[in-house]
Symmetry: C2
Subunit: 224 residues, 2 copies
């Protein structure tokens, strides 16, 4: 295993709870009240699946105009709630350590541009890092496309990659991609949910992952 | 088992995620950034324990003035995020069914007045229902005092009560009170966390609990 592919929200930046409240408020304003915990457990899945789940709760399909209105309002509310996304503990240090050690890594997120830009900036991730986002592939998580596209751009085979995420969607996408999944608790899932969906290991947050990279067989002795 | 004692936030009203974001914002404004998932897993514990946990994350004790400032700001932000707390699916129906069937029930919450009033109103809970809140006992959850005070006011022995909540703090308090704990997923904990802390059963939300009361040996045939 020589490359690491990271989810973004809840994995490297502390944005899950703001996303939940922004989705919940946007949906409620559109006359579609949905429980917070049900939204929470769907953060990070593809927008299409999310919309279908919402339609099931609402008891009817959403019109394209409704879906677009909710999406736009969510983006607006999210920017207001989390104007400066905060890196999770150890996230910046993890990115820097991998970069310094020459370990290939990438970001693969169901989120889209431009929404993810402030998070990338907060992490110090520039154009030299592979970032695969929602619009870059046809199917988002739990389909494997985002992780596979990231591996391809790193020049790594799937079997050589770990996929790191906070949601069961990340772990399922890792399985489908033929990668080992690593779970983080920093998105608010329970440890058991991540293990049952197939995570190889579960850490609290990027800081604990960084301190435990040897458990994944990855060395980050700096090569300065 | 003849009486039911309910937690409020995350158990009967869908307020957990708004509480998380309100606490996180209030703490960040005070210069104490704390991860959302760490706040989430502490919702429902006593304010004293919460403050101590915050101090540990901050690396220093909070002054009384800081703690008061954060508390006041949280209350303000929470009111803005959740001006009309939404009953969880089945919550109003559950309360009505127990009332109609003459099954004794009460609310026991680590929250305090007047913050909890809008939630009680949303549930249709008036002065005829026993409500034990933070200021009514000296120690909140996971200590058993709230649940024991509720049982005493219902005239029920602890062994005759189920305590229903969404957090491990509810389940731990139930154990310490000598009650059977019942977990709900509607506060965003994982099922396994609730079972491992000792929950007798876990349901999705109040609607599933209402439909499953026979599993607790409680009959709610209406006596009209």
């Amino acid at each position: 295993m020589r490359a690491l592919i990271f989810d973004l929200d809840g994995t490297l930046v502390d944005t899950v709870y703001a996303h939940v409240v922004a989705w919940q408020t946007a949906l409620e304003e559109a006359g579609i009240p949905i429980d917070g915990w049900r939204i929470h457990r769907r953060i990070g899945m593809s927008g299409g699946l999310f919309t279908r789940a919402v339609a099931r709760e609402a008891g009817r399909p959403l019109t394209a105009a409704e879906a677009e209105q909710v999406r736009a309002r969510h983006a607006e509310l999210f920017r207001a709630l989390a104007p400066r996304p905060r890196p999770l503990p150890g996230a910046r240090e993890l990115v820097a350590a991998l970069r310094n050690a020459g370990v290939p890594f990438a970001i693969a997120t169901s989120g889209g541009r431009p929404g993810i830009e402030p998070s990338l900036r907060a992490l110090g991730i520039g154009t030299d890092t592979v970032v695969v986002a929602c619009g870059d592939v046809s199917r988002a998580k739990p389909e494997p496309d985002l992780f596979l596209a990231a591996a391809a751009r790193l020049g790594a085979s799937a079997g050589d990659c770990y996929a790191v995420g906070d949601a069961v969607w990340d772990v399922l996408a890792a399985r489908r991609a033929g990668m080992l999944g690593v779970g983080l608790l920093s998105g608010g899932y329970g440890e058991d949910e991540l293990l049952r969906s197939g995570a190889f290991r579960v850490y609290r947050d990027p800081a604990e992952l960084l301190a435990s990279l040897d458990e994944l067989g990855i060395e980050v002795h700096e090569r300065r």
